[in-house]
């Protein structure tokens, strides 16, 4: 890839939600297929499971709990999808981008902080013990993953000497960042899984508290939250591509297709991890995050900074 990333007309933004939801739906289908396989059913039955799920949630009535804070609850439920869409605005699709902000990396970080508020609001709004415990669990996890995530994002920005996503992609023409900042990449992926309340970090929606913040949502609200989780996960996977995986760079295929292929591969790994590892308990993870992961991220930034200054 040689030509710089160009900003396209904002009108294209209309298409972004569709692309995002399509990818998210694919991820959900993959998840369904994997679940079907562990249960010993044919893979195909699982692939269609998300559609069945959508249909049943669209038919379902919304049940409101006693003395629920409906306003905040609905804001939390609807917010996840919105945040995911805002996230992918700064992600270039091959040679095109909608908004190459000066501060694209920080923009992504800000949007992921929104999930702090949203998941907690979902847990709070239901006015039920399990849901609230779920919301708190997410927050306590968030305090652990957020700082390492910030430093993991700073590493590529330091290497590119810019917070602009386009510059970060351009800086990877010769060598992808994932190769010389693997620690940052791993921390980033872990944080994406965590801020989507996914897989081993899904304690906020854990089975031990009857689904946590999902315990009391039904109908369209539930659909929005579940879709929002997939969307946020997808957006996280998509952001890994320009920041660590060289954007649209790759042989043969056109750049935009490479972006999608890489996104899907990262997403597939996230989905595959989901049921395969035991829960990482937030109360225990806190110590690990602050004593091991955060210093590791700082060291990574230091190494990157030394290399960049030296080169």
């Amino acid at each position: 890839m040689t030509e710089p990333i160009v900003q396209v007309s904002p009108a294209w933004a209309v298409l972004t939600p569709f692309l995002l939801m399509l990818l998210a739906l694919t991820a959900a289908g993959l998840n369904g297929a994997l679940v079907a396989r562990t249960a010993g059913r044919p893979l195909r039955s699982g692939l269609a499971a998300p559609l069945g799920e959508v249909a049943r949630l669209l038919r379902q009535r919304r049940q409101v709990t006693v003395a629920a804070d409906v306003v905040l609850w609905r804001i939390g439920a609807a917010g996840l999808v919105v945040v995911a869409i805002l996230k992918i605005l700064v992600i270039p699709l091959g040679p095109w981008t909608l908004a190459d902000l000066d501060v694209g990396v920080v923009w992504f970080n800000t949007m992921d902080v929104m999930t702090w508020a949203l998941f907690w609001l979902i847990g709070w709004g239901a006015n039920s013990a399990y849901a609230l415990v779920g919301g708190y669990r997410f927050l306590s996890l968030a305090v652990s993953y957020e700082l390492p995530l910030m430093f993991a994002l700073i590493a590529p920005a330091v290497a590119a000497r810019s917070l602009q996503v386009g510059d970060v992609v351009a800086a990877q023409q010769d060598l992808w960042f994932v190769i010389w900042m693997p620690v940052a990449f791993v921390i980033f992926c872990g944080s994406v899984i965590a801020f989507s309340s996914w897989g081993p970090f899904a304690t906020g929606a854990g089975r031990d508290i009857a689904g946590g913040f999902l315990a009391d949502v039904s109908g369209v609200d539930r659909l929005l939250i579940l879709a929002g989780r997939y969307a946020v996960l997808t957006a996280g996977a998509a952001f890994a591509v320009p920041v660590f995986l060289g954007g649209g760079g790759g042989p043969l295929l056109p750049e935009w297709l490479w972006t999608i292929v890489k996104t899907f591969l990262v997403l597939a790994v996230f989905v595959a991890i989901r049921h395969r590892v035991p829960t990482i308990r937030p109360d225990r993870f806190a110590e690990v995050a602050w004593i091991i992961v955060l210093p590791a991220a700082l060291l990574q930034v230091l190494v990157v900074a030394i290399i960049v200054v030296g080169s």
């Binding site: 000066d102 923009w107 902080v113 609001l121 968030a142 806190a286 004593i291 091991i292």
Partner: protein, 187 residues
């Protein structure tokens, strides 16, 4: 024109949600109203060209309000959210003082003949900010970092009731600390 409409809409949102903070009885709503106020101000900052500062403000304040809500729920116990109780004092004087200050500030804002703009903004404001804090203004940043670090330490010292003698025993020889909750590193 569009910018003007956007600005005034944001201004209304910012002030209205600011007022909401002290009007609503729900702790969660109060906290998140403040967060909305900060988001509106953050966007206004982006409008006046302070992209980095504006977005950082949003990032920090949403984070802070998420934590703030937890503290509210934790400490307010019997609070206006559950029972309509008035948790205020000297309301009238506060209001008088606030309105007085507003009149003063507003008069200042409108009456002072502000000078014309000096200089032009840099082409890339974020980059220029980076150069400023890494160049001529490095001292400011060098001061802020120890202050922030000291804040972390001081906050922990104030809030944590348990010193190392509680954890490791009187002679500090306990092999695993005596914590109410187990950490993740097998200690």
């Amino acid at each position: 024109m569009l910018i003007d409409i956007l600005f005034w809409a944001l201004a209304v949102v910012a002030v209205a949600s600011g007022v909401t903070v002290f009007v609503v009885d729900s702790m969660a709503r109060a906290t998140y109203a403040l967060a909305v106020s900060f988001i509106a101000v953050g966007i206004m900052l982006v409008i006046v060209g302070l992209e980095y500062i504006g977005i950082i403000t949003i990032l920090m304040m949403v984070m802070e309000m998420a934590i703030m809500a937890v503290y509210m729920v934790m400490y307010m116990g019997m609070n206006p959210a559950l029972m309509p109780m008035d948790m205020t004092h000297s309301k009238r004087w506060s209001a008088v003082l606030a309105v007085g200050t507003f009149v003063l500030l507003a008069a200042g804002a409108l009456l002072i003949p502000w000078p014309a703009r000096v200089g032009e903004p840099a082409a890339d404001l974020t980059a220029s900010l980076g150069e400023a804090i890494m160049g001529p203004n490095m001292l400011a940043m060098l001061t802020i970092s120890p202050v922030l670090f000291a804040t972390i330490i001081a906050g922990l010292v104030i809030a944590n009731p348990r010193g190392r003698y509680d954890r490791w025993g009187d002679d500090l020889k306990r092999r695993t600390p005596n914590d109410p909750m187990r950490g993740g590193l097998g200690r």
